[in-house]
């Protein structure tokens, strides 16, 4: 127990003294996971909405696959991405193994099905005639889709938070494709595991606390947007 307290104290100490290595790691975590979440937002929402609104052969199967994707083990994703981008892999010529770019790719792959699945459910949850009602008021298809997305703001933002939560705390894929290289691809989660492995528990807990603070701050902002009331 006192180890945890020590850890919390150390966390604040590191933050307040603006320890450059810790600040760097924190900023990198935010950049990588933020970018990955952003990518997953675009791909996830657009495909999720498209699947929800259109009837096609194999729709049920597609939805099952998306829902399964929500539970993709991150380590498995990391392994596949590694095999794709290492020197002997099909994308080896890009030379992106052990770079933050590879981490963004892996995290985007992990987050996208989550955002996709929840967006899909959010749109399907709207009243079935709403789509026709909007079209009948003279909307183009694109205008209609935008109105439906705005109507689903609550669950869609939950989807973004779920996607972000999934990747900011992700470790397996990040360490595999990033390499945990000091000052370059080391993020809060990979640093925490490394310090734990070295036995520096207080530092590990401190890093964990900082990760929680970071996640909370982002989610607080997103929740404000989500819960914004329309009435006055």
């Amino acid at each position: 127990m006192e180890l945890i307290v020590q850890g919390i104290v150390k966390a604040f100490h590191l933050l307040i003294s603006l320890d450059p290595e810790v600040i760097g790691i924190t900023w990198l975590s935010l950049k990588i996971s933020g970018t990955a979440t952003f990518i997953s937002l675009f791909i996830g929402v657009s495909i999720g909405v498209a699947v929800a609104l259109n009837d096609f052969f194999g729709k049920r199967l597609a939805i099952s696959i998306i829902n399964t994707g929500m539970g993709l083990p991150p380590v498995v994703v990391g392994l596949f991405v590694t095999i794709m981008i290492w020197r002997s892999g099909p994308f080896g010529f890009l030379e992106i193994l052990y770079t933050p770019t590879a981490m963004i790719i892996a995290q985007a792959i992990i987050a996208t099905p989550i955002v996709m699945g929840i967006s899909l459910a959010a749109i399907q949850n709207l009243p079935p005639n709403l789509r026709l009602q909007i079209l009948s008021l003279g909307a183009s298809r694109l205008q209609m889709v935008w109105v439906l997305i705005k109507e689903s703001r609550l669950p869609l933002l939950a989807a973004v938070m779920a996607g972000f939560g999934g990747v900011i705390s992700e470790i397996g894929a990040s360490i595999m494709v990033g390499g945990n290289i000091k000052g370059y691809s080391r993020v809060l989660t990979t640093a925490t595991v490394m310090e734990t492995g070295k036995g520096n528990f207080d530092l590990a807990i401190a890093l964990g606390v900082i990760l929680l603070i970071l996640a909370f701050t982002i989610n607080f902002i997103l929740t404000q947007i989500q819960q914004r009331q329309q009435s006055r």
């Binding site: 005639n129 009948s136 008021l137 183009s140 109105v147």
Partner: protein, 361 residues
């Protein structure tokens, strides 16, 4: 009906998956008039309505809007921009009433001044100015329905479609909203197509009616005419076994009205205003037939009539009588014989003012 139709279909077939849900040979919607689609559940009223509004794809057949065929998806989009649909559920968005009403207007490139003007107009039409800034999700059923209607009227559509729009309202609310709608339709002369369930609403609102069953049209024409001469039992039971006479209120005093029908005057109870167009509905079983004019009798309505037709129906006779307007009456077999009735006989019919059910038209 000399005007050309605003919307018409030929040999329209609509499918859902493998099933043919709609098979309509011919239908015309004329400008400035209200058309009702009636029929049992599953007859295809909503499907037809949504297809006419450009919201459902056509399997085969042709749809014409303003005499031009609606072919491609851009034609359909153009059709949709000229119409508005109100569904049974209000389907309001999570925003204020004002913003909801402006939704349709925002899809078109209008200035915010023009939008505000149309929104204010629509709010006034339905008497909901006081709700302008309320959140749509906090409204009652009747208020939501008004907002939904206002939203549709705000875009000034050429045709407005209402799909069983009054079903989920309680009677007083329904009455008030139908009143407002009637006024607006009269004032703006907007063409309307309504899918309806209720006989009274049909009589009140629609000049023309189309009766559907199993995806096909089984009868269409002017409302009064279809109601008076239903071609099958469903329509007959929808209509009721009443006689329906169109007329205008001449005088109205102390709960008793004189209604002019085809040159004759019928007295009925009620308190409509003079000049109000109405339908008088009478049940044949409430009509008494006699050979001579009865002496002092409480029935206010006594007319001479000639028997046009006499049809035997199991336990009674159904007589069709002409007293300046056409009536049906039922009399028992013994009475038929005792009065020596046959086609061409001159009789006297009488019925009470309280037996006349008057509906606004």
């Amino acid at each position: 009906m000399k005007q050309s139709p605003l919307l018409s279909v030929e040999n329209l077939v609509v499918k859902r998956g493998k099933f043919t849900v709609l098979n309509v040979n011919e239908l015309k919607v004329f400008p400035g008039r209200t058309l009702a689609l009636i029929g049992p559940n599953g007859a295809g009223k909503s499907t037809l309505l949504l297809t006419l509004a450009g919201l459902l794809p056509i399997e085969s057949g042709r749809l014409y809007f303003q005499a031009r065929q609606v072919n491609s998806s851009s034609d359909l989009a153009m059709l949709r921009r000229n119409v508005a649909v109100v569904f049974q559920e209000p389907l309001l968005l999570n925003m204020t009433v004002e913003k909801n009403i402006a939704v349709g207007l925002k899809f078109r490139n209008l200035s915010s001044a023009e939008i505000k003007k149309s929104v204010d107009e629509a709010l006034a039409y339905f008497g909901i100015e006081h709700l302008a800034k309320r959140a749509a999700k906090t409204l009652s059923g009747g208020e939501s329905k008004r907002v939904s209607l206002a939203r549709a009227f705000a875009i000034k559509p050429k045709i407005i479609f209402l799909d069983e729009a009054f079903n989920s309202l309680d009677p007083p609310t329904r009455e008030a909203i139908i009143d407002d709608l009637q006024n607006i339709l009269e004032k703006t002369k907007i063409t309307a197509v309504l899918a309806l369930h209720d006989r009274e609403e049909t009589l009140r609102l629609a000049q023309d009616v189309v009766v559907m069953s199993e995806g096909k049209i089984i009868q269409q024409g002017a409302t009064a005419q279809v109601f008076q001469q239903p071609v099958n039992e469903y329509i007959a039971s929808f209509v009721g076994t009443e006689v329906i006479l169109e007329g205008v209120v001449k005088t109205s005093k102390e709960g008793l009205m004189e209604i002019a029908v085809n040159g004759q005057v019928i007295e009925a109870v009620g308190e409509f205003k003079e000049g109000q167009k109405v339908c008088c509905c009478l049940r044949p079983e409430n009509i008494t037939v006699s050979k001579t004019i009865p002496g002092k009798i409480s029935a206010r309505n006594v007319f001479e009539a000639r028997v046009i037709k006499a049809v035997r129906q199991a336990y009674f006779y159904k007589l069709t009588l002409d007293c300046g307007f056409t009536l049906s009456a039922y009399i028992t077999l013994p009475s038929f014989d005792e009065l020596n009735i046959r086609e061409g006989s001159m009789l006297v019919v009488s019925f009470k003012a309280t037996a006349v059910h008057v509906i606004k038209r």
